[in-house]
């Protein structure tokens, strides 16, 4: 067969592979064995497996935005792919970090916890940078714009795994009324049929033919959806599964199409047919490139069609290696040796026959004690039956330590496991959800029993197809495993190590040391040693670790238990989890109807919740923020300014019981309030703490409109709904958000009345006709607007509520009508400054959820005569009436040229002795601070302990460089303390 070659680069060198090859397969084809350096010791590492379980062969894909830690055994090559090895410097072959291997006695279990304890500052400046340089995996990827998407499925049955058992199950469901999803992680169905030489024929035809026929049948049935290249990573509660589909297998990423799809699957039944994973055996230097799991070797041979090594040594403790032996000898290759720990009389006769027929050196009741070589296996050291050491020259060692059902997903579903004495592994026992396990994942490694199992476990489904399948099997049917987790070392040197976790460089010595140090619970031991905590989650080794630990502890392995298997089964890219929720799609952006005008006027925007609000307007290119804010603030108090307040939350409350409800929601009393007036109001939680503030406008007793702070609009509405629905469902009312139905302008300043009269020349704005805190509706063009006289600056002010469609025109009219006054548009920063000059609070800045109205001296806002409102009872709790609570005060620096910083501590002592040895008593902190252009000095607000009583005294505020500033404690009302300006 002539196939066109695919060229890719590994560490700068060009290699050719075949269509369909993984990176690992292509490199092995080119006889490249050394792939990377290990996590801690920088030991040379190669390709250990042929799939998702790979601990060693992790690489970085340079041309895919530097994607790190990609399994070379999974990722398929394509033309022009650029691959790089990881964790080595300066190069893979000569890696300086490998000195760690010699220093290894100091890198034992718990090394980081014990070593990097001091001196102070060393962690940040010395240890961490050093460790980051030498330890670890790949380098972080470059930023890229992912096109990954999410997809949802609702099905009756999901079949996880398109191997033999999965296909048999799918075959039963084909053409029935069940809605089925069949998920396979590889690009082809077949599993073991494609990987190994275990089944000779099915229904008297070659397995390949049966496979093709079955796939066609399933594909043609209209009730089964097939997902290939899709890995089920997560099995949540309530039969909710998550699977990751790779859309670009074997081809470069497409700039237009999604690279990954995250499937979210809801199902009524879950059939797990996800097979098994081979485990290794620990021996001296079991990490050298050239050591490979036997079934993985066979998979390269059968699925990828090449022989990684023509004469490997095979080391086993079970019968499964027969099929490797058969595959090799069928091709005319002869293994260097066959090492089996079992006694000859326990070894199945098929294997013995093959060994004899091809005259393969055979070592029964023997074990591999270790292997030797610098950068790859050169020699294998065997301890024979007679306890003698024999060394055999070879470049590859195939190991089989038995098989583990791939129970990861099953245990994620909260199913329980039990120890299987025949196969020496954990297998599923009690299910917790609607889970069915089929084939090797259920602990059934027998093809003969598979059909019975499928029939029995699917018998709860109605109207499934009859199955007629007859297997002819190659080799032994029984597993006949003998327990072996590690072999004893013969030779000890600094370089020699026996690994239990290849990815995290954990040795069996570390396990012993951890137990000696008292970590005798498996969950603790795992965290102390970092065993099975790598990205491979110890897929080929975690059961071995349990075996070894149970021996050290002299406990039964099921008593030791497993560590918890948590999702995901295998790492999931963040880009897939994020899906389309990135960049502009991450969170909606809300713009006011005047947004385009603001842009034209050089507004600098601030994010307030999802809203874009003008922060300040830049008058010229070189105007700084401070200059702009000072200019705006000065102009407002001189003539007038206008603010886009459209983002304020607006809620309409309507109904027979609206008055009762508003009385319960806010602290103030609204009963005697006249219609067409507004009132500044406070909303509390049941704990008495301030939740929000706003203006409550009463149209009549059945109709109110309230405003909320921009950021709390949604939560205030939800709070009202909650009480209306759950606490007082007897009240008759509707609550409705009308935030976006109105644009809001806040006009403020001594000239605002004149400006209003010019813009609305048929309305009388005189104090008698339009007093402070009154409002009315007016006809405006073909619509209606509402004008409220209110102020958040302390100046004469009006709020105009206009439908968004008319907003821009009306806004412009304000400027046209007030050219002689230099009406200034101002942003949120100036608004904050102006209100601080008046000591008005901002909920969330001067309050933080621990502040009551009493703390803010807002007792006047509490309707004490009201029988009840939310939070009322809390206001008389002993802790709330305590005089030493933190209370709001104003601060003015004694030296008027100094500025106070927000967030700084307020303290009693002037000098801080440096370095600070004893805690300094903190009275409170500065919540707001601005330089007032109208007073020409700084003004600040602070919450300090017993603040009310401290008014008139002198305190100190700390500064960034640990100096202090002397401040006078004053009433928090710095400008126009008699509030005359807004009453003008």
């Amino acid at each position: 067969m002539t196939e066109s070659k695919i060229y890719f680069k590994f560490d700068g060198k060009k290699y050719a592979g075949n269509q369909g090859d993984t990176i690992a397969a292509a490199l092995l084809r080119n006889n490249v064995r050394l792939i990377g350096r290990s996590f801690k010791y920088h030991r040379p590492r190669g390709i250990y497996t042929c799939g998702i379980e790979e601990p060693n062969a992790l690489v970085q894909i340079i041309n895919e935005h530097n994607e790190p830690n990609v399994r070379a055994t999974v990722k398929k090559i394509y033309e022009g792919m650029i691959v790089k090895s990881q964790n080595r410097w300066p190069s893979l072959k000569t890696d300086l970090g490998s000195i760690n291997n010699i220093l290894s006695p100091i890198f034992s279990a718990g090394f980081y916890y014990k070593t990097f304890m001091g001196p102070k500052g060393f962690w940040k400046n010395v240890y961490e940078p050093l460790i980051r340089r030498t330890a670890g995996l790949g380098k972080p990827p470059k930023e890229f714009k992912s096109k990954s998407i999410h997809q949802h499925h609702n099905v009756d049955v999901i079949i996880v795994g398109g191997g033999l058992s999965g296909l048999l199950a799918a075959r039963k469901f084909a053409g029935t009324n069940y809605d089925v999803l069949l998920v396979e992680r590889e690009d082809a169905f077949g599993g073991v049929l494609k990987n190994a030489n275990k089944i000779k024929s099915i229904n008297d035809q070659p397995a390949d033919e049966w496979l093709e026929k079955t796939e066609r049948l399933i594909r043609n049935s209209n009730n089964i959806k097939i997902l290939k290249n899709t890995l089920v990573t997560t099995y949540n509660f309530s039969d909710h599964l998550i699977a990751l589909e790779d859309k670009n297998v074997g081809k470069p990423q497409d700039n237009e199409k999604p690279e990954l799809v995250l499937h979210k699957i809801r199902t009524k039944h879950t059939i797990l047919a996800n097979g098994h994973i081979e485990r290794f055996i620990t021996f001296r230097n079991n990490d050298l490139p050239g050591v490979m799991l036997a079934a993985s070797f066979e998979k390269y041979l059968n699925r990828y069609g090449f022989v990684p090594d023509e004469s490997p040594v095979i080391f086993t403790n079970n019968s499964s290696t027969y099929s490797l032996l058969k595959s090799l000898t069928d091709l005319g290759h002869k293994p260097k040796a066959y090492v089996d720990i079992r006694d000859q009389k326990n070894i199945e006769k098929q294997t013995l026959e093959l060994l004899e027929k091809f005259n393969i050196p055979f070592y029964p009741k023997s074990e591999v004690e270790g292997c030797e070589g610098q950068k790859e296996v050169k020699k294998v050291s065997i301890r024979t039956k007679k306890n003698q050491i024999t060394k055999i020259k070879t470049s590859m060692l195939c190991v089989s330590g038995g098989f583990n059902p791939d129970i990861h997903l099953f245990t994620q579903s909260k199913g329980l496991l039990k120890w299987d004495k025949d196969h020496l592994t954990f297998k599923p026992d009690r299910i917790f959800q609607k889970t069915i396990t089929l084939g090797s994942v259920s602990g059934n490694f027998s093809y003969e029993k598979l059909l019975v199992e499928v029939e029995k476990k699917l018998s709860e489904f109605q109207g499934l197809n009859e199955l007629e399948v007859k297997f002819e099997i190659n080799g032994p049917e029984k597993f006949q495993i003998k327990e072996l987790w590690e072999t004893k070392h013969e030779k000890k040197s600094l370089w020699s190590k026996s690994f239990i976790d290849l990815q995290n460089d954990v040795t069996t010595k570390d396990l012993r040391q951890a137990v000696n140090e008292g970590f005798n619970r498996i969950e603790h031991l795992k965290r102390f040693t970092t065993n099975s905590m790598g990205t491979d989650q110890g897929k080929i080794s975690s059961i071995n670790a349990l075996g070894i630990v149970s021996k050290i502890l002299k406990k039964d392995i099921s008593e030791v238990g497993t560590t918890t298997y948590r999702p995901p089964y295998s790492p999931v890219n963040f880009s897939a989890i994020a899906g389309r929720s990135t960049y502009e799609f991450y969170d909606p952006v809300r713009k006011t109807p005047l947004h385009s005008w603001h842009i034209n006027q050089n507004a600098v925007f601030e994010n307030v919740g999802q809203w874009k609000r003008p922060w300040y307007f830049k008058k010229s290119e070189d105007e700084t923020m401070l200059q702009a804010v000072q200019r705006e603030a000065e102009q407002v108090r001189k003539t007038a300014g206008i603010l886009d307040g459209s983002t304020l939350g607006k809620i309409e409350i309507k109904g027979k019981d609206a008055l009762t409800f508003v009385n319960l929601m806010y602290t103030n009393s609204f009963t005697k309030m006249k219609p067409k007036t507004g009132r500044y109001a406070l909303m509390l939680g049941e704990d008495g703490m301030i939740k929000d503030d706003g203006i409550v406008c009463k149209i009549n007793d059945q109709h109110f409109i309230v405003t909320t702070t921009t950021g709390n609009a949604a939560s205030v509405l939800a709070h009202m709904e909650e009480y209306a629905q759950t606490e007082w469902p007897n009240l008759n009312l509707y609550i409705n958000s009308i935030t976006e139905q109105f644009a809001t302008f806040n006009l403020s300043g001594p000239k605002s009345r004149v400006i209003m009269s010019r813009v609305f020349n048929d309305i009388d704005f005189s104090n008698d006709q339009f007093p402070f805190m009154s409002f009315d509706n007016f006809k405006y063009l073909d619509t209606e607007i509402r004008i409220l006289r209110a102020s958040f600056t302390g100046e004469l002010g009006y709020e105009i509520y206009v439908p968004p469609s008319h907003a821009l025109k009306l806004w412009q009219k304000f400027f046209i009508s007030s050219r002689d006054f230099d009406l200034v548009p101002y942003g949120t920063e100036t608004m904050h400054l102006l209100r601080a000059e008046k000591g008005y609070i901002i909920v969330g800045q001067d309050t933080d959820g621990t502040v009551t109205p009493l703390d803010l001296n807002l007792n006047w806002m509490i309707g004490k005569k009201k029988k009840d409102f939310i939070g009322k009872r809390s206001l008389t709790r002993t802790d709330i009436v305590r005089e030493t609570r933190k209370q709001l005060v104003g601060l003015v620096p004694v030296d008027k040229t100094l500025g106070i910083e927000e967030g700084q501590h307020v303290i009693e002592q002037k000098d801080l002795s440096l370095p600070i040895k004893n805690p300094v008593d903190m009275l409170g902190h500065v919540t707001s601070s601005y330089f007032s252009p109208n007073l020409n000095h700084s003004v600040a607000m602070a919450l300090i302990r017993g603040g009310k009583r401290k008014i008139g005294s002198r305190l100190f505020v700390s500064t960034e460089n640990l100096n202090t500033i002397a401040v006078e404690v004053v009433e928090p009302n710095f400008i126009d303390p008699k509030n005359e300006r807004m009453m003008l």
Binding site: L416, W419, G561, E727
Partner: protein, 117 residues
């Protein structure tokens, strides 16, 4: 993530809902007449059982309606939903519910994956 059957809209994804804590905690009728202790118990103290829990949910990203649900907190199984104002189903209705996923104790966590021999 589980699904919840909203009594008004039908079965929907959990992400559409918000949890509102324990259900059937009545707001005192006359708060002024009770002690600080009784009031603070109403405001701050909620049950946190492992097992059957009567709780409130709101269909935030849907009909915005509040309703009650009975959930097994150790398995996240929603056993029943009922509208606000409806009487809570008696506890004995749920006595056959599986207590915990892995048969672990009624109190405490314990992530057991292996069946106790």
């Amino acid at each position: 993530m589980f699904t919840i059957r909203c009594p008004y809209c039908g079965e929907r994804d959990q992400s559409e809902f918000s949890n509102g804590g324990e259900a059937h905690v009545a707001r005192p009728k006359d708060p002024e007449q009770i002690s600080d202790r009784e009031w603070s118990e109403y405001v701050f103290i909620r049950a946190n059982p492992k097992g059957i829990y009567y709780e409130r949910w709101v269909h935030t990203h849907g009909c915005k309606k509040w309703f009650n649900a009975v959930r097994n907190t150790s398995t996240d199984e929603i056993l029943k939903v009922y509208k606000m104002g409806e009487a809570p189903p008696p506890l004995k209705e749920f006595k056959n519910t599986i207590k915990t996923p892995s048969g672990e104790p009624d109190v405490g966590s314990g992530n057991f994956s292996v069946k106790k021999p």
